[in-house]
């Protein structure tokens, strides 16, 4: 039984340490949201323009981006 005080844990929402791919995608997504806008079309265009592609290397479509977000943000 653990009973240590204080509990101070930065990361309480993660299931795993993000992979380099996830870090890169997140950082680019923030940049895209900041510079390109908040619409799905803006995001897909912005990611592809920065050559930050899906894990298999293919350019994003709205469908593939949506599916990947649903996987990573479940």
């Amino acid at each position: 039984m653990t009973d240590t005080w204080p509990y101070l844990d930065v990361h309480q929402s993660r299931t795993h340490e993000p992979t380099p791919y996830e870090y890169k995608l997140a950082a680019t997504l923030e940049e895209v949201f900041t510079r390109e806008g908040h619409e799905l079309t803006d995001v897909v265009r912005g990611l592809n323009a920065r050559q930050v592609h899906a894990a298999d290397g293919s350019p994003w479509t709205e469908e593939s981006f949506r599916a990947e977000m649903n996987r990573l943000g479940a």
């Binding site: 009973d3 929402s13 997140a26 900041t34 990573l72 943000g73």
Partner: protein
């Protein structure tokens, strides 16, 4: 009962109000089939979870001679005290005295057991004193029950009195100073006028001249459990969905320790929800944490007599109102002087 109505008002004020619900610890602190010792409202408790997930909260005190049940053994559907083996059921009934079968303790409900509920990843318990054992009606914060709202719980333990943690939330103006270098509270005026607006369940403490820029308002809600609601804008990098909100609760652990519960929530659906959740886990949670650490550093460094030697001004009305309310409740709950 463990919590006595003859406690002094000072003791109640220092260790937390009785006869209401409080958040205790996150649900995952007690795995199925496990138990965990916790301190809350200045007393020792045992959280006990059966393997099917059913949770109970018992006074951590063996009914025989007072040994902590938390040192005992989890027997699946009951706990056995390590000292002489007395077995206690989740509702506090002694089921067996192994050393003296048929002993009159058997079948008696001798251990306090608190009503518990699990809400959005946290364990809530009702801390009634001996005159109020029946749980108060509990209305949960809407952001935690609204299906269109998504929330992450952040729990942390601070070496500061519980009331300082609540006062900090009723003091929105600190956002523009203490958190000026944060990802969310860099903007807005560093001067403001505030007002108190009473509601049926508590009060708003809000700026009269700015909204939607910094930490501009907070609502104290007393709905069987005490909580605050507030909203803070995100920068554009956080994507669609607008501001995030915080539902905050505190667990008064003892006179100088507090468990804080912050549910960061956002009204987002579909891919916008998923992208926020992804960014939150990967990058944003750390930034929220850094902001919270600023609060912890400040509150833990406050001198013990901080609230005895103050010079308050208009921005502190929310705090003054809170103290008056809590002080009156503590007086009302104490029959010590009666």
């Amino acid at each position: 009962m463990t919590l006595s109505s003859s406690a002094t008002a000072d003791h109640i004020y220092a260790t937390g109000l009785r006869n209401q619900w409080h958040a205790v610890v996150p649900s995952h602190f007690v795995a199925p089939g496990a138990m965990r010792k916790v301190t809350a409202l200045g007393e020792q408790w045992l959280l006990f979870r059966r393997s099917d997930g059913a949770l109970s909260m018992l006074a951590d005190r063996c009914p025989h001679r007072g040994a902590p049940l938390s040192l005992g053994k989890h027997l699946g559907d009951r706990v056995a005290c390590w000292y002489h083996g007395v077995e206690v059921e989740p509702d506090g009934t002694v089921s067996s005295v192994p050393g003296l079968p048929g002993c009159s303790l058997e079948g008696k409900k001798l251990v306090t057991s608190l009503p518990v509920r699990e809400v959005a990843g946290a364990i809530l318990a009702y801390f009634g004193d001996e005159e109020h054992p029946e749980p108060a009606e509990l209305t949960l914060p809407e952001p935690l029950t609204d299906p269109d709202v998504d929330a992450f719980l952040c729990y942390a333990e601070w070496d500061a009195p519980w009331r300082y943690a609540v006062e900090n939330l009723l003091d929105p103006m600190h956002g523009a100073f203490l958190h000026h270098d944060s990802h969310t509270m860099f903007d807005g005026d560093t001067t403001a006028k505030f007002r108190i607006r009473e509601t049926a369940r508590g009060y708003f403490f809000e700026k009269t001249d700015q909204r939607g820029v910094n930490f501009d308002w907070v609502e104290l809600c007393r709905t069987g459990v005490d909580w605050v609601d507030l909203s803070i804008p995100y920068p554009p990098s956080a994507g669609p969905g607008g501001a995030f909100g915080i539902v905050g609760m505190v667990c008064p652990v003892d006179v100088r320790r507090t468990g804080v519960f912050f549910w960061r929530y956002r009204r987002v659906q579909d891919w916008q929800r998923a992208s926020w959740r992804f960014l939150y886990r990967t990058l944003i949670e750390q930034r929220h944490w850094d902001v919270l650490e600023q609060d912890r550093v400040m509150l833990e460094a406050m001198p013990a007599d901080a609230d005895q030697r103050e010079n308050l001004y208009q921005h502190d009305l929310g705090v003054v109102r809170l103290r008056r309310l809590y002080r009156a409740a503590a007086e009302a709950q104490s029959t010590a002087g009666a």
